[in-house]
C-alpha cells in the first residue's frame, strides 16, 4: 500500500515531479492498450477470432499504432523532456500550466480517437490513403469525425509541448540576467556544433546548450512540422466528413491521391525518420553521460550528425512510395534510396559514439539503465539495416507491405530500439523524480529485460520470416497459410505482454497504491522548483 520500504512519499514531490510521473503513468496505461491490441492481432494472424468481426479487427489495426505512438510514446517522451530540459538548463520550465495541458490533451485526445474507433469501427489505418478516410460505403462519418477530433486534440497538446520546449530554452526567468535568446536558439539548432567542425580546437566556441538539449530541440522541430501536417490533413478529412453529415458529397477526385500520399508521408516520416531517431540519439547520449559521468565521445560530430539527421528527415519520405509507379523515378532513387541510406550513417554514428562513451568508463556495473540502453542500441542496430534493405528499388518490389516491413523493421525499431531506450530513461529517472524511491524487485526488473528483449526480437524475426515467404500485412489469412511463423510470433508477443505486466507490477509495488493516487493530487510546493532542495 505504501510502496517499497515506505520510501515513496507523494507529499514531498514538486509539481514538476508529479507532472512527469503523470505523463509516465498515462503513457504506460496506453502502452498496455497497445500491447493487448497487439496480442489480439497476433492471435488473429494465427486464426481470425469469431467474437471479433473483421471491421472491429481493422479498427484495432488502425488504433494500435496511434495509441502506441501518441498515447504512450508521446506521453512518456514529452513528460521526460519537459522535465529534462529545465533540469539540464538549470532553470524553471517556461510554463507549468501549458505542460499540464499537454498531458491532459494527449490523454483525452487518445481516448477520444480510441473510443471512436472502438464504437464506430472507423478504420482507414494510420496511412489514411486517399480517398479511404472519406469512403462512406465502409465507414461511419460520425465515427470518423470523432476519430479525427481525437487526433486533433493530441496535436494541440503537441503544439503546446513544442512552444514550451523552445520558450524554456530561450527565455529569461524572473530575476535572472538577460539570456542571449538568439544565441541559445542557434546553439540548440546545432549551428555552433556545425561551425566548430571547421574551427581550430583553440578557436572552437563553447556550446550554450548541452548536447541532449540540442537533440531535444532538433527533434522538436520535426514534432512541430509533423503536428502541422497531421492537423492540416485532419482538417481536410474533416471537411469531407462534415459535408457528408450535412448532406453534401464532395468529389473525392478533387484531391490527387499521389500528391496526398507524398504530402502525408512527408509529414509522417518526420516522426518515423525524424523525431524518433533524433530523440533516441539524444537520449542515448544523455544516458551514456549519466551512466558513465563522462563527456561524450566525438561531441562536435555528434551535434553535427543530429543536424544532418534533421535535414535527412525532411528529404527521405519517398522510400514509402517506391512501389508507386506514378512516383517520379528520380524521387525514388534520390530520396527513397540515397537519402535514406544516410540514416545508416547518422544512426550508425550515434550507435558508435554511445558505445565508445560507455567503453571509456569501464568497468561499469550492469545496472537496469545500462542493460536497457544496450537493448535499445541493439534494437536500432537490427532495425535500421532492415529498413535500408527495403528502401531499395529492387528489394522493395518483393518486400513492400509484407510482414518484413512491420516485423524486423517497425516493431524491432519501436519495441526493442525505442521502448528499451525509454525504459532505460525511466529506470534512471525513477529515483530522481520520486525523491529516492526504491525498486520493489530486481528479479522482476531482470525478467522485464530478458522477456522484452527476447520477445521483441523474436516476434520481429518470425514476422520477418513470414514476410519473406510472402505474407502480407494489413490483411487477413483465413486458412492458416503462415501458421508456423505466426504461432512463434504469438509466443514471443506473449513474452512482451508478460514483460510489461512484470514492469507495471514492479513500479506499482515500488510506489504503492497510495503513491499512485498521490501522484494525481496537487502538490503544495512551488511550480518553479524541479526537485526539492533536500534531494539535490
Amino acid at each position: 500500500m505504501n510502496g517499497e520500504q515506505g520510501l515513496f512519499k507523494p507529499a514531498t514531490l514538486t509539481p514538476m515531479q508529479k507532472l512527469v510521473l503523470r505523463f509516465v503513468v498515462i503513457g504506460l496505461i496506453y502502452y498496455g492498450f497497445a500491447v493487448i491490441e497487439g496480442m489480439i492481432m497476433r492471435i488473429y494472424a494465427i486464426s481470425p477470432i469469431t467474437a471479433i468481426p473483421d471491421n472491429q479487427y481493422f479498427a484495432i489495426l488502425t488504433a494500435h499504432p496511434l495509441v502506441g505512438i501518441f498515447g504512450s510514446t508521446y506521453s512518456i517522451v514529452f513528460g521526460a523532456f519537459l522535465f529534462l530540459v529545465p533540469f539540464l538548463m538549470k532553470k524553471p520550465l517556461w510554463s507549468y500550466k501549458l505542460a499540464n495541458w499537454t498531458c491532459i490533451l494527449i490523454g483525452v485526445g487518445t481516448i477520444t480517437f480510441w473510443l471512436a474507433g472502438f464504437f464506430s469501427h472507423y478504420a482507414p489505418l494510420y496511412t489514411l490513403y486517399w480517398p479511404l478516410p472519406a469512403d462512406f460505403s465502409q465507414f461511419n462519418p460520425l465515427g470518423g469525425t470523432f476519430f479525427v477530433l481525437g487526433i486533433a486534440i493530441v496535436m494541440l497538446g503537441t503544439v503546446f509541448f513544442v512552444i514550451n520546449i523552445f520558450k524554456t530554452i530561450v527565455y529569461t526567468p524572473e530575476g535572472w540576467e538577460k539570456q542571449p535568446s538568439k544565441a541559445l536558439f542557434l546553439s540548440a539548432m546545432g549551428l555552433s556544433g556545425m561551425t566548430n567542425l571547421f574551427r581550430k580546437k583553440e578557436n572552437q566556441k563553447e556550446h550554450l546548450v548541452s548536447l541532449p538539449v540540442a537533440a531535444i530541440a532538433r527533434g522538436t522541430v520535426d514534432t512541430a512540422l509533423n503536428a502541422g501536417i497531421i492537423l492540416f490533413t485532419g482538417v481536410l478529412i474533416l471537411v469531407y466528413l462534415v459535408a457528408h453529415l450535412l448532406g453534401f458529397d464532395l468529389k473525392n477526385s478533387a484531391i490527387d491521391a499521389l500528391l496526398y500520399k507524398n504530402w502525408f508521408w512527408w509529414g509522417l516520416d518526420l516522426i518515423a525518420d525524424g523525431l524518433v531517431l533524433i530523440f533516441v540519439a539524444g537520449t542515448w547520449y544523455l544516458l551514456a553521460m549519466l551512466i558513465t559521468g563522462k563527456t561524450l565521445f566525438m561531441q562536435n560530430i555528434a551535434r553535427a550528425a543530429l543536424l544532418l539527421e534533421l535535414v535527412v528527415s525532411w528529404t527521405v519520405w519517398s522510400h514509402h512510395l517506391m512501389s508507386d509507379q506514378a512516383q517520379p523515378g528520380f524521387l525514388k532513387v534520390a530520396s527513397g534510396e540515397m537519402v535514406t541510406a544516410f540514416e545508416l550513417i547518422t544512426q550508425g554514428l550515434a550507435f558508435f559514439i554511445t558505445l565508445a562513451t560507455l567503453w571509456s568508463a569501464r568497468p561499469l556495473k550492469m545496472t537496469n539503465p545500462l542493460k536497457f540502453l544496450l537493448g535499445g542500441l541493439l534494437g536500432f542496430a537490427l532495425a535500421v539495416p532492415a529498413g535500408i534493405m527495403q528502401a531499395d528499388l529492387g528489394l522493395n518490389r518483393i518486400l513492400h507491405n509484407t510482414q518484413w516491413i512491420i516485423g524486423p523493421h517497425v516493431h524491432v525499431a519501436i519495441l526493442v530500439g525505442l521502448t528499451m531506450t525509454l525504459y532505460s530513461a525511466i529506470y534512471i529517472l525513477f529515483p530522481i523524480v520520486t525523491n529516492g524511491a526504491k525498486l520493489y524487485s530486481q528479479k522482476l526488473a531482470n525478467f522485464h529485460f530478458w522477456a522484452h528483449l527476447i520477445g521483441g526480437i523474436g516476434m520481429g524475426a518470425f514476422m520477418g520470416m513470414a514476410g519473406l515467404k510472402g505474407m502480407l500485412r494489413r490483411t487477413i489469412y483465413l486458412n492458416g497459410e503462415f501458421n508456423l511463423y505466426m504461432i512463434l510470433a504469438g509466443i514471443c508477443g506473449s513474452l512482451l505482454l508478460l514483460a510489461f505486466l512484470a514492469f507495471f507490477y514492479n513500479i506499482v509495488m515500488s510506489v504503492g497504491l497510495k503513491g499512485v493516487i498521490g501522484i494525481f493530487t496537487p502538490s503544495k510546493l512551488d511550480e518553479k522548483i524541479l526537485v526539492p532542495e533536500s534531494e539535490k
Binding site: P131, K371, M389, L395, K469, G470
Partner: protein
C-alpha cells in the same frame, strides 16, 4: 531473369548472418564493459574507419542491387522497353476486372500490367501457389500504375491486392488467373 525467390533467399541469408553477428557483438560488449581492460580509449582512426564503412555499405547496397536484380533497371526504364504483351486491368468496388478470364503469357516474354483504380488505393501483386510473392505494386486512383515483368519459366499465379482498402478489400484474390506457358 532471376526469379524473385532467389533474391529473397539471398536477402534471408545476408540479414540472418548480420543479425546473429550484431547480437553476438552486443553480448560481447555487454560482458566486456563490466570488466577492467588494458585501455579504455577508443581511437579516432577506428571511429573514422567505421564511418567510412557505413558510407560504403549505404551506397554500395543500391549499386549492387541495381546491377544484379534485373527488374530494378527494367522498372526505371520501362517506358523505353517494348512489352510483348500488355494487359489492361481495372479495379473498382474492391474487384479486379481482367481483360480475359485468364492472362496467358509465354515464357521469356515481357508482360506489361496496366492497372487503373476507379475509386480507392489498392495493391496489385502476383503470388505463387505456395503464397510467396513474385512482385507487387501500388494502385493509385487517377494515375496509371504499370509494371513490366519478364517470366522465365512456366507457372500459375494468383493476383491479390497488396494494399489495405478497407475491410472489404481483405479478400481481393483472383486465384490462378495468370498462366505462364512454354512456347
Amino acid at each position: 531473369m532471376v526469379d524473385s525467390q532467389v533474391v529473397l533467399n539471398g536477402q534471408t541469408f545476408a540479414y540472418t548472418f548480420y543479425a546473429i553477428a550484431i547480437i553476438l557483438m552486443m553480448l560481447w560488449f555487454g560482458y566486456k564493459i563490466t570488466k577492467s581492460g588494458k585501455t579504455n580509449k577508443v581511437s579516432s582512426a577506428l571511429f573514422y574507419s567505421f564511418v567510412t564503412l557505413l558510407i560504403v555499405m549505404g551506397v554500395s547496397l543500391h549499386i549492387v542491387t541495381y546491377n544484379t536484380i534485373p527488374w530494378a533497371s527494367m522498372d526505371l526504364n520501362r517506358k523505353e522497353i517494348k512489352a510483348d504483351k500488355v494487359f489492361e486491368i481495372s479495379v473498382e468496388n474492391h474487384k479486379f476486372i481482367l481483360p480475359s478470364e485468364k492472362l496467358i503469357i509465354n515464357v521469356n516474354d515481357k508482360a506489361m500490367f496496366n492497372v487503373r483504380s476507379k475509386d480507392l488505393t489498392y495493391g496489385f501483386g502476383l503470388f505463387r501457389s505456395d503464397n510467396s510473392m513474385v512482385f507487387q505494386m501500388q494502385v493509385i486512383p487517377g494515375h496509371l500504375n504499370d509494371i513490366l515483368w519478364k517470366f522465365d519459366k512456366p507457372g500459375i499465379y494468383t493476383i491479390r491486392s497488396t494494399e489495405y482498402s478497407g475491410p472489404k478489400g481483405a479478400q481481393m484474390i483472383l486465384k490462378d488467373v495468370v498462366e505462364v506457358v512454354a512456347n
